[in-house]
């Protein structure tokens, strides 16, 4: 269980003069839940964007399952087995709930333009399979009964769950959750915590950015703290809670 699934070495990202992430090293071990915490603007989402190829790093290297993914396009990284959700929910609003999840099956299916245009039997069979699998993921997050609705009709908490279902549909080895609890009430957050541990139970590694400390301390195996694009602490939840540097970063100097 202790294999390294993701390894980042000296990754760096600058936007003009602004250093968002500087010389950051970290590893994520397979089958664990790792959380990244830190004050606003610490570079947490930037790290996610660098891992998923939405941003290209200014320097450094990221390895996934032993292979470099540093210069790969976003869609390639996704098909290799890294999926994510977004801090500001990015659902496909012109599609139904189930179609959103069906998009997640894209990298795991193969019908091309020709078989699509001609509606070949292979394509129709695949479509049925895609719909069935999408339904399973919807039921997994508890949205099975709302498959035909527009995602905009869902309450915010359920939209977050739909994003998780969509990401799960790509069959990731590593799932990146960007503030999944923000905007959720206490009950929804408890439900989310249960869901995240269940996802880990399926053998999927989780990297989590989150501000809800109760959630983070409750489910994480390991925590990394960022401040101004640099790692200031890393360790078990208990160690992080007692770390002076972390307290200083969050509360300011006494």
């Amino acid at each position: 269980m202790d294999n390294v699934i993701l390894h980042a070495s000296k990754i760096k990202k600058t936007f003009g003069g602004l250093v968002a992430v500087s010389d950051l090293d970290f590893t994520v071990r397979e089958g664990r839940i790792k959380a990244i915490i830190g004050p606003n603007g610490a570079g947490k989402t930037t790290v996610f964007n660098l891992i998923t190829g939405i941003l290209q790093p200014t320097g450094g290297e990221i390895q996934f399952q032993g292979n470099s993914i540093t210069r790969l396009k976003s869609y390639r990284i996704s098909s290799l087995g890294i999926s994510r959700t977004f801090q500001n929910v990015q659902l496909f609003s012109n599609m139904s709930v189930i179609e959103n999840v069906m998009i997640g099956r894209h990298p795991r299916t193969s019908s091309g333009i020709m078989s699509s245009i001609l509606s070949l039997p292979k394509k129709r069979k695949e479509e049925k399979e895609v719909r069935k699998r999408a339904m399973e993921y919807l039921e997994f997050v508890g949205l099975g009964d709302r498959f035909d609705e527009s995602p905009e009709n869902l309450p915010f908490g359920k939209q977050r769950l739909l994003e998780i279902a969509r990401a799960m549909a790509t069959e990731p080895r590593l799932l990146l959750l960007d503030e999944p609890a923000s905007g959720l009430n206490t009950k929804e957050t408890q439900n989310l915590a249960r869901l995240i541990t269940e996802i880990r139970g399926r053998g999927i590694t989780i990297l989590l950015v989150e501000h809800d400390m109760e959630l983070v301390m409750g489910i994480s195996d390991e925590i990394m703290v960022l401040n101004s694009g640099q790692k200031i602490a890393e360790g078990l939840p208990r160690e992080i809670q007692e770390n002076d540097e972390v307290i200083k970063a969050y509360l300011g100097e006494a």
């Binding site: 869609y75 999926s83 659902l91 496909f92 179609e99 894209h106 699509s116 001609l118 479509e127």
Partner: protein
């Protein structure tokens, strides 16, 4: 394709077959030929704009490329019309690929400007390449096209010929939309970042759909050439590009049926308004304005709304 679309397609086919037996006036038949030709391009543009969310204000160029390839090759060089037809498709898709790779990296207004520029360049080439295109005076004496030994030399024959093409293209487009690829295209429309993160190769798909819409444009161009048997640059300028965008928007961007309805309205309406002489353009503008104000989802959106209300009452 789902049941609703198959049924609508069937009803449309029946109406189209019955139409020339009820309306025998060749002027109306001829207008319907133009509805078909414009409909084919509008459907292609709807795949690009409505489905994938990428604008093109230069689509008259692909219409022109198809038209001129057919005209030059058949009238001047004696090529077989079908051979010219397919060479037009090949040329349009190659140019769409070359133009699409750099310009589809752009978004929104910038993409609009790039495609506008492309349309204008093509228009200038048609005008200035006098040795090949005949310049502003165009090319005449284009032969008729044959299908299985029959010359498409009357309005009624051409009517069936063009609409058969349209129904084929409509069927293929509906298949495409209701598929893995169509779904991926719609995801680009809503959030390109999320689409990429879900493993959709958005750059490749955008170029592919651009090429498909270029091919439809070229097909329409060749059909136009062999119908009017004369081409000149003025049919392929900025005005026609904008008219095509209007067809898609007025009809309803979210559906290829909308593109077809938009093409029908914008082709037929000027014919009806002609009686108004100087006021024609005024009424034309007012109609378009009213549609956009009261039916923001286009004519098809309005029809869907009425249809749903009717079903609820029943």
């Amino acid at each position: 394709m789902d049941k609703k679309n198959s049924l609508t397609l069937l009803i449309l086919t029946v109406c189209l077959v019955v139409f020339p037996f009820i309306v025998t006036n060749t002027y109306y038949i001829s207008t319907m030929v133009f509805v078909g030709i414009n409909g084919i391009i509008a459907i292609g543009l709807s795949l690009l704009m409505g489905c994938a969310g990428q604008i093109s204000i230069g689509h008259a160029a692909f219409f022109g490329l198809g038209a001129y390839t057919s005209a030059v090759l058949t009238a001047k060089l004696g090529f077989h019309p079908w051979c010219a037809f397919f060479l037009g498709i090949l040329l349009s898709s190659c140019i769409a690929l070359i133009i699409g790779i750099p310009s589809l990296k752009l978004k929104g207004h910038y993409l609009a400007m790039a495609t506008l520029g492309f349309g204008e360049i093509t228009y200038i080439v048609f005008n200035e390449l006098t040795d090949i295109t005949g310049g502003p005076s165009g090319i005449g004496g284009i032969p008729k096209i044959y299908l299985a030994g029959y010359a498409m030399n009357t309005d009624i024959k051409y009517y069936f010929f063009v609409w058969a093409f349209l129904l084929l293209i409509l069927t293929l487009s509906l298949n495409l939309i209701h598929s893995r690829i169509g779904r991926a295209l719609r995801s680009i429309h809503d959030s390109e970042v999320a689409a990429n993160a879900m493993g959709v190769n958005t750059s490749k798909l955008k170029i592919q759909v651009f090429m498909i819409s270029a091919v439809f444009g070229s097909v329409a161009g060749s059909l136009y050439t062999h119908y009017v048997t004369f081409v000149s640059p003025s049919s392929f300028g900025l005005f026609f590009s904008i008219l095509l965008v209007m067809m898609v928007v007025i009809g309803g961007m979210h559906s290829v049926w909308g593109a077809l309805i938009g093409a029908a309205l914008l082709t037929i309406l000027p014919e009806f308004l002609r009686a108004l002489k100087d006021f024609e353009i005024f009424v034309y503008g007012a109609v378009l304005l009213l549609i956009m104000i009261f039916l923001p989802r286009g004519l098809i959106g309005g029809l869907e709304y009425l249809f749903n209300r009717l079903i609820k009452k029943v």
